[in-house]
Amino acid sequence: MTTGVDVLLIEDEPSIAEAVRFILSREGWQCEQWPEGSDALQRIRALAPRLVILDVMLPGRSGAEVLADLRADPDLQALPVLLLSARGMANLPQGADRTLAKPFANADLRAMVRELLDAG
């Protein structure tokens, strides 16, 4: 894990993905996107991001399953994860560092990403 991207966004909604990538790129962070739960772990290993932004409802594997896989992986379990939830804040999967409910304020997104990147 030498030269990875700053953020990997795992999100299936194209317009939301575009918005997030635009917001993060304006802050100078490099952001890649992956549109489904399947093969998400391989993408993470390949891109070696410093932070994963993960949607809860994904085609293929759900965000909860991806998160569980990630936390069970000895190499990746320490990776910071920001969860995006479109079902409010109830019944969220365990293991995320931060959670943001959709719709969110762009400032909140920026603040959380900055916090997690600085910590990591």
Partner: protein, 885 residues
């Protein structure tokens, strides 16, 4: 004060008790029993022990035999002082087994023996007859004390009293077949009467002690004078009599049918004994400590030859205190009334459960080959049996009173009853503490003891035999009692030791001795019956509401919803015990034996014997459901309960989906609108982002429209606008409408326009909606290199219309075909097209609404949906009503 006035006062008093009992029963029926269900009521109801014998006879007893009268208070006092260690176990075991009487307890312990129950009932009836006679006699004797030459005693007083008390007992004792045999109205009346008799006795005692005599010192001085003059012939303390009488009265407080009834059957739980343990002995002490002064002053003042049993009345009368005397009369009347009423209720339950119903069941069994003509019902039969028994018991008491002519001293008649009923004591105590006690031992002991009692005590009391003579000057009564009990106990122990009990008996013994709930294995019934059949049987005996409640609880305990528990051995045992609470253990066991199909009896026969003939109409106000209706209702309740659970889960999932579907476009809209507010945005980005916002807003609008549409369709409030339309025109419009969403791909459309020219009677707008939906789905999801849509139309053989819409894509996998018509069933598909997943669900609702259907046709080399329409849409009168209402 004339006998007539007093008679009228008694009638008013009884009427008040009627009202009180009635009010209490109504409150209990309305569920407001809690405020009455207090320990103090229980303790006061125990005072039914103090019958008219105690009220009048104690003074007579003291006059004749000195301090010996104390024994009848000492026995119960000792038993209750130790209640927490002894009686508590009796109450707990009896309540565990839902025992309805002393006979039921003995029978239940010894293998639910019907013979034993009948035997104990016989002893109870024999022993109680003189005792009830004594109450009637006391009332007429008391009235006679008021009679003067100008106002002679009206004839047949005892008969009228008997009739009135029988009416009271029938009204409040046989109102319904309460499953636990509790009679709230009667208990409240007894408790009030307990206060009246105590107040009356204390009043007359205080008057005698301080109003006539000059305080305790004066009474003691009078005793000294009398002891010198009279020599105190009968006043010596005879140890064997004291021992016998204390033991007898101690036994009586437990085994007399009326005492067992208030002590055990009317007890809500064993904790009642905590207070009764000290409060009841205190009540007895209050009733007894003024006996001696009244006796002494009576002997001193009243003329020789006057009846000492009436001193309590004669003393105030001799001093011209008519009002006090009237109060005393009411106290004595209360004592007599509560004793007779409770005895009659207790004995009638025993006679009905252990004589009449088994006899009836036996008759039915032998007559099973004949078709059942009379569709009697067991509930009414039981109530009528009890009413008959009440009349019989009180009638027998009155006859006894007539026959003996009312000459015997009161105390003698009481001790006859005590000693007879005491024959049950060895079996009861042994049954509670010794697992080895057997049915044959109990029967032998009770029969032998009862025979000795009959020959040496009961018949001599009627003057039909001479009392036995015992050597060494032992008192005849004490000797006979001790002999009968000794033989009784000896036979019980010896025969039990050599006997071998059957399995039911051993299980009951275990459960009684260890005071644990009856073992599940105790029921040998095989679960060959349906829970519905048992529910129906129970409904006929207890009434449907109560039966449903019992079954619901049982199902709940098994973790099931609805009213039909699994027929586990444990449930069957509980059910039998509950049934025993109504009909007695022996009868319940017999009924269950038939339910379980033991031997060759089938379920059908059970319903014949018990069910069909035992419909309880205990509450005529309620509609009586037939068995089929009840079973159907139970099944329907179970079903709708399950449906509700599923629906509720579906509703939660649906709301979660809606939330998700709305939040997703909202997220883009919010994010991009915030971005748009940033100042240094390139113009190209600015207009692209505005376009995204517009698209997402349109997506939300579509979703909301779809939601509204589906809710209208699902609620049945949608209105059908029927019309005739050319199918070809409709398909043209659908293709034109769907054209815009064909995102740059060219679709080949294959049709047979000639075949499409079919007139269709339907709601054209709704059908168009379905066509647009299916065609746009094909456009969105068809993944072929050269996508094509083929539309086939035809008339069905039934005159309806079928439209097949194919595409040449990869189709829908078998695992998803069941899902596509569900709400939000958008399949996991990377090539998604932004729908909310409601389209096909709406189509399905619309087709149902139009009387047709939409289905997926597999094996067509692509996705293929068939839309089928009936010749004409269904009439929907109910929908029109809903729409206007």
């Amino acid at each position: 004060m004339t006998p007539e006035t007093l008679g009228a006062a008694s009638v008013v008093y009884v009427a008040l008790m009627f009202l009180l009992a009635h009010a209490a029963d109504r409150a209990a029926a309305a569920g407001r029993w809690r405020w009455m269900d207090r320990p103090v009521i229980y303790t006061l109801s125990l005072s039914v022990y103090c019958s008219a014998w105690t009220f009048y006879g104690a003074v007579g007893y003291a006059t004749r035999s000195g301090l010996e009268f104390l024994t009848i208070y000492l026995g119960p006092g000792i038993v209750f002082a130790g209640a927490w260690w002894g009686l508590r176990r009796l109450v707990r075991v009896a309540r565990l087994h839902r025992v309805t009487s002393i006979a039921d307890l003995i029978s239940s312990r010894f293998g639910k023996s019907a013979a034993l129950a009948a035997l104990v009932t016989l002893i109870g009836v024999l022993a109680s007859t003189p005792y009830i006679a004594l109450q009637l006699q006391s009332v007429s004797m008391a009235l006679s004390a008021f009679a003067t030459s100008g106002h002679p005693l009206p004839g047949n007083i005892a008969l009228w009293v008997a009739v009135g008390l029988a009416a009271f007992a029938i009204l409040f004792g046989t109102r319904n077949l309460a499953a636990n045999e509790r009679h709230h109205g009667v208990v409240i009346a007894i408790a009030v009467e307990a206060v009246v008799k105590l107040a009356a006795f204390l009043a007359v005692g205080a008057f005698v002690l301080w109003g006539i005599a000059d305080g305790p010192a004066d009474v003691l001085a009078r005793i000294d004078r009398m002891a010198v003059s009279a020599g105190g012939e009968g006043w010596q303390i005879r140890p064997e009599r004291w021992f016998t009488l204390i033991a007898l009265s101690g036994a009586a407080v437990m085994v007399l049918p009326r005492m067992f009834h208030v002590l055990v059957v009317e007890a809500s739980d064993e904790n009642r004994l905590r207070q009764a343990g000290w409060a009841f002995p205190a009540y007895l002490a209050a009733m007894s400590f003024l006996v001696l002064p009244i006796a002494v002053v009576g002997m001193d003042l009243l003329p020789r030859g006057s009846n000492p049993d009436l001193y309590v009345l004669a003393l105030p009368l001799s001093q011209g205190r008519d009002t006090l005397a009237a109060l005393v009369f009411l106290g004595g009347f209360s004592s007599a009334m509560s004793m007779v009423v409770v005895s009659a209720i207790a004995l009638s339950t025993m006679m009905a459960n252990h004589w009449l119903v088994p006899l009836w069941l036996w008759l039915r069994q032998t007559a099973l080959s004949e078709p059942a003509q009379a569709r009697e019902d067991l509930g009414t039969l039981m109530l009528n049996a009890r009413r008959l028994a009440i009349v019989a018991v009180i009638g027998a008491g009155w006859l006894y009173h007539r026959t003996t002519g009312g000459t015997t001293a009161l105390a003698a008649m009481g001790t006859v009853a005590f000693s007879g009923m005491a024959q049950v004591l060895p079996a009861m105590v042994a049954g509670l503490v010794w697992r080895g006690a057997t049915r044959r031992g109990a029967i032998a002991g009770i029969v032998a003891g009862a025979l000795i009692w009959g020959g040496a005590i009961f018949l001599p009391s009627l003057g039909l035999a001479a009392p036995p003579a015992f050597p060494a000057g032992i008192d005849a009564f004490a000797g006979a009692v001790l002999l009968a009990l000794a033989v009784n106990l000896l036979l019980l122990v010896l025969i039990s030791l050599v006997d071998f009990p059957d399995p039911t008996e051993r299980l009951q013994a275990l459960s009684f001795v260890h005071a644990i709930a009856p073992d599940a294995a105790a029921s040998e019934t095989a679960p060959a019956v349906q829970a519905e059949a048992l529910l129906t049987l129970a409904g006929r005996i207890w009434g449907n509401d109560h039966a449903l409640e019992v079954f619901r609880k049982a199902a709940e305990n098994q973790g099931k919803s609805g009213y039909l528990p699994d027929l586990t051995p444990r449930f069957l045992a509980d059910f039998e015990r509950h049934l025993a609470g109504t009909v007695g253990a022996a009868t319940a066991s017999a009924l269950m034996a038939r339910v379980g199909g033991r031997g060759s009896v089938t379920v059908a026969e059970l319903m014949e014997v018990a069910g069909e003939a035992s419909r309880a109409r205990e509450d005529n106000r309620r509609l009586e459901l037939t068995s089929a209706e009840l079973a159907r209702t139970a099944a329907m309740l179970r079903e709708s309960n399950e449906k509700l659970t599923v629906l509720s889960a579906q509703k939660d999932a649906f709301l979660g989906q809606i939330s998700h579907e709305l939040r997703t476009p909202m997220t883009s809209i919010r994010a991009f609108s915030e971005i748009l507010m940033e100042p240094d945005l390139p113009a190209a980005d600015r207009s692209r982002f505005a376009g995204i916002i517009q698209d997402e807003a349109a997506r939300m609008t579509r979703l909301l429209d779809d939601l509204l549409d589906i809710s209208v369709l699902e609620s049945g409030r949608a209105q059908l606008k029927p019309g005739v339309v050319n199918l070809h025109d409709l398909i043209e419009r659908a293709l034109a409408a769907g054209g815009a969403s064909a995102a740059g791909r060219d679709f080949a459309i294959r049709r047979n326009p000639l075949a499409e020219h079919l007139p269709v009677i339907t709601d054209p707008d709704r059908l168009l909606q379905v066509l647009i939906n299916v065609i746009s789905n094909a456009r969105k999801y068809c993944d072929a290199g050269e996508p094509a849509i083929r539309i086939d139309t035809r008339r069905s053989p039934q005159g309806g219309t079928e439209i097949d819409i194919h595409d040449n894509g990869s189709g829908i996998g078998p695992e998803n075909r069941a899902l596509i018509f569900e709400k939000f069933a958008r399949l996991d598909d990377p090539s998604r097209a932004g729908g909310a997943g409601l389209g096909l669900a709406i189509c399905k609702e619309i087709m149902g609404f139009l009387g047709g259907s939409i289905s997926y046709l597999p094996g067509q080399g692509g996705a293929c949906f068939r839309i089928a329409l009936p010749p004409r849409p269904p009439r929907r009168a109910e929908n029109a009503e809903n729409a206007t209402g």
